[in-house]
Amino acid sequence: MENIKLHYDVDSNDFSCAGEASGKIKKALKDLGFDASLIRNVAIAVYEGEINMVIHAEGGVIDAEISPEKVTVVLKDKGPGIPDIEQAMTEGFSTAPENVRALGFGAGMGLPNIKKYSDTMHIDTEIGVGTTITLTFNF
């Protein structure tokens, strides 16, 4: 199998559309016949990342590469950056505004969930420049 590359733009203007990219990646993996639990791990982690992009960073881009050994997903935004990664990784810590909480997010579980469901997670962030999160999921 040749590596499959997928690219999605995440629009920040419509919260109801957040999850489109994750859903498409999930469907692509399903169509390729991967194991259901692996697909779910990828879908949940990418969905949390996509939601974060919409909440904090006015959107961004998601690139996924599917190889015979692993799935690599890169979520890149030009948002405000994360001042304290350790704090942001703490379950329950959130800087999401009240309107986002009213929609069911901002419980401070986003980054912890992304870490939980991925095999490796690397955060590259710079204040005022943006954040890139690289995830791998091994088969």
Binding site: S16, S22, A36, I44, F105, A107, M109
Partner: protein, 116 residues
């Protein structure tokens, strides 16, 4: 538990997915926080929530959930019904509040993620 039994226990109304009510659910979670739901993984689960927005259906999609129950008389809008249709997720409404809905399902044998 079959979805149709769940509907009967909750005195619910199937808003979408009558054709899937013979499907089984093996676990349940009740929450208005989708991030908490995403921290819970169990195949063929049902989500109970008082939250009404499209992200509820998307969360269920990511979790491979088969059914969403809207408690306290909440009703999904057409955009949510359309999303559920594409994903074959049953939507149920009940007038019962969250506590009573969860209690009734627990009483009838359904359990949470821990199985307890």
């Amino acid at each position: 538990m079959k979805i149709k039994e769940l509907v009967s226990i909750l005195e619910g109304e199937v808003v979408f997915g009558e054709e899937y009510i013979e499907n089984e659910v093996f676990a349940a979670c009740g929450s208005d926080m989708m991030s908490d739901v995403l921290a819970f993984v169990k195949e063929q689960a049902v989500m109970l929530t008082g939250l009404v927005n499209p992200q509820v259906v998307r969360t269920a999609e990511m979790m491979d959930m088969k059914c969403i129950v809207f408690v306290r008389g909440k009703r999904p809008d057409q955009s949510m019904i359309d999303l559920a249709q594409e994903r074959e997720i049953v939507l149920v409404c009940t007038k019962l509040e969250m506590f009573s809905s969860c209690g009734k399902l627990y009483e009838n044998g359904l359990r949470g993620a821990s199985g307890k």
